[in-house]
């Protein structure tokens, strides 16, 4: 394994998905606030 492969293996694969899910929840909260404000 090269250096890149070691770094890729160490990086948690789920970090991206969790980040995307958090961004989506934050965006939904903003959307709900905008819809509530009218």
């Amino acid at each position: 394994m090269g250096r890149d492969d070691v770094a890729a293996a160490r990086r948690p694969r789920w970090a991206w998905f969790i980040a995307a899910a958090l961004a989506e929840v934050a965006w939904l909260a903003v959307l709900a606030w905008l819809a509530w404000r009218g």
């Binding site: 890149d4 890729a8 995307a20 989506e24 959307l31 905008l34 509530w36 009218g38």
Partner: protein, 203 residues
């Protein structure tokens, strides 16, 4: 508390679309292919279009259902249920971004041979009779994205093992940047720019 989905501004609904396009552009910019399971791929697409769904069909349904918070939650859950149903009904699939069929096929062939020495090919489909698995490489010409789809009757364990090994094998492949990256990034920037313009014009 009342939440009227018809009041969701279009600029806010467009933001996830821009994010999705930029994310796909970034996948095409990488020098190694990215393998996503079909479920993850469809989930990201559903999250990307969620804003358009909320501002469109769900806002259209809401007057009949009322503007209570829980009505809004149930409408959102209805969309989630449709997406979940589509995911469950879909064939097991792996989507590999930024790879050509000519580069992917030898990788799939070596994974198939390691799982079942009696594996044989017909066109772009490999049959692994000892494992109860057939995989088909679905290539969209010059799109540089290939789907590996389980065809026919599929053993769930065999597919799990195959996709695990394919994911590992694909890490060794190096590719050049896909020219599609710039098209996706430009489209993402265009949608983001339109959202910004709408926000400024309406604000």
């Amino acid at each position: 508390v009342r939440i009227a989905l018809t009041d969701v501004p279009l600029w806010a609904a467009l933001l996830p679309v821009a994010g999705y396009l930029v994310a796909v552009g970034c996948l095409h910019l990488r020098r190694r292919p990215v393998a996503l399971s079909g479920h993850v791929d469809v989930t990201f697409l559903a999250l990307g279009i969620a804003g358009m769904v909320i501002a469109g069909p769900l806002a259209l349904l809401q007057p009949g259902a009322g503007t209570s918070v829980w009505t809004t939650v149930v409408l959102l859950l209805g969309f989630a249920v449709i997406v979940a149903g589509a995911l469950l009904a879909a064939r097991p699939r792996m989507v590999i971004y930024n790879v050509g069929l000519d580069q992917l096929r030898p990788v799939v062939a070596s994974v198939a041979a390691s799982l079942d020495p009696t594996a044989r090919w017909a066109g772009e489909t490999a049959a692994l009779p000892a494992r109860g698995l057939q995989v088909h490489l679905d290539d969209r010409g010059s799109a540089r994205t290939v789907s590996v789809i389980a065809a026919g009757k599929t053993s769930a364990e065999a597919w799990a093992e195959f996709s695990r090994r394919l994911r590992r094998a694909i890490r060794t492949v190096r590719v050049r940047r896909s020219p599609w990256a710039w098209a996706f990034l430009a489209a993402g920037a265009g949608v983001a720019g339109m959202a910004a313009w709408l926000a400024v014009a309406s604000g």
